[in-house]
Symmetry: C2
Subunit: 217 residues, 2 copies
DNA sequence: ATGTCAAGTATACAGCGTAAGTCAAAAATA
DNA sequence: TATTTTTGACTTACGCTGTATACTTGACAT
């Protein structure tokens, strides 16, 4: 009855595995059905026996990524729990750079996402937040994660290279047109400022504000 | 005298105009070079006499959007200025829903973007922030704008329909699997919570935190 | 009047997602 | 065991995409 197929050389799992591998390594635009099939030693149309279409495949991929995010411990200290969740979200987005652009066009309402949201609300609600407050808090925290990571991914220079990059670009930043950016670049070159924005800065700002809000709404 | 078409009927400006029109109305994936040319009464290849390629067109489009954002008044009160800038950024992103997905893949370093960033730094720096602080502050504020709008655009239900949508989906949110989301939905249905997250909430959280940080770093 | 140059157009190519149809192997049934 | 049914893989084909190449045409300077 439930004897496993020996002929199934392709399975949804294997397909999603390879799709993630390709997207992570070569970017999302490099992921075509033909290429994916080729990497699996098969042909494009064979994939459609296991995956409805490319959008469905995408949703499976996003669900995998969602599963990588730490599920909040409902009884854990909310501040530390939210911190960990935010950092693991950022890590997942950086690991899979192709995800952020898709977060808009694709509504991800898979089990992993829902479970995570539920646990997040749960953690906050059991520690003094109302449901409305918990929803707002999660929204504000997630906004920071998404927005910060978006900017981080967009940034053309790697953190180690800020100083040399600033030195290189400095002559191109017209002091007349962009006086403040120019001065900022100068400060990065001379070491006054290392040029690194920090994920934790905004995160702690928000956590701190949430704490204050909960205690004195 | 009038020939069937007058020379130079196409200009970069006209092309970008129409491209924005199509993308705003029908989404980004609906914008193809052939379709765009057709809407301009021309053919696809004609566009290439005025625009290097589709990516270059995109950059022009993004630059137009960037120009819609309020340029901070350097001598204005920083709190109010940042508030206005954030709101106008969000408005621009909502007006052009196709933008956010592209913010990652396309580095926008056009004049309008640079001018805005420069003015933002300037406003903060002239009011007591160091350059490093100003950079962090801008980054945190922009993170909120991008992240919040991203979630807002992704959300499948319009704000007016939250209550009816919650009532509709309630039976589908398993109380066993997602107890907290279930309760949240209940509270939206019974009116305890209107289900609306608010852009200003997170924004004020951050502004408040920045103020505190500047005064006691 | 003629030559030059820029703008418009036609054709073509490689790639895409995927609908439709074919075929052979595995599973179910007899 | 023999036969039927189901299913996964494959081939072909269609309409779409961005754009390279080559050709034509209109406008203007000499």
């Amino acid at each position: 009855m439930s004897t496993p197929y020996t002929r199934k050389s392709l399975t949804p799992d294997k397909i999603v595995d390879k799709a993630l591998e390709i997207a992570d390594a070569q970017g999302f635009e490099a992921l075509s059905m033909r290429k994916l099939a080729g990497a699996l030693g098969s042909t494009a149309m064979s994939l459609y026996n296991h995956v409805a279409n490319k959008d469905a495949l995408l949703e499976l991929m996003l669900e995998r990524v969602a599963a990588e995010i730490v599920t909040p411990d409902i009884s854990g200290d909310w501040e530390e729990t939210m911190r960990q969740r935010a950092h693991s979200m950022r890590a997942a987005l950086l690991r899979h750079r192709w995800v952020p652009p898709l977060l808009i066009s694709t509504i991800t309402m898979g089990a992993a996402s829902l479970r995570n949201i539920d646990a997040t609300l749960g953690c906050l609600v059991t520690q003094g937040f109302t449901y409305a407050q918990a929803d707002w808090a999660r929204n504000a925290l997630d906004s920071h994660v998404y927005g910060y990571t978006l900017q981080e991914l967009n940034y053309p220079v790697s953190p180690e290279a800020y100083q040399t990059a600033a030195a290189q670009y400095l002559p191109m930043i017209s002091k007349a047109d962009y006086p403040f950016m120019h001065e900022a670049a100068v400060q990065i070159v001379d070491g006054t400022y290392d040029g690194m924005t920090q994920f934790s800065f905004g995160l702690e700002l928000i956590i701190d504000g949430l704490k204050r809000w909960r205690d004195a709404p």
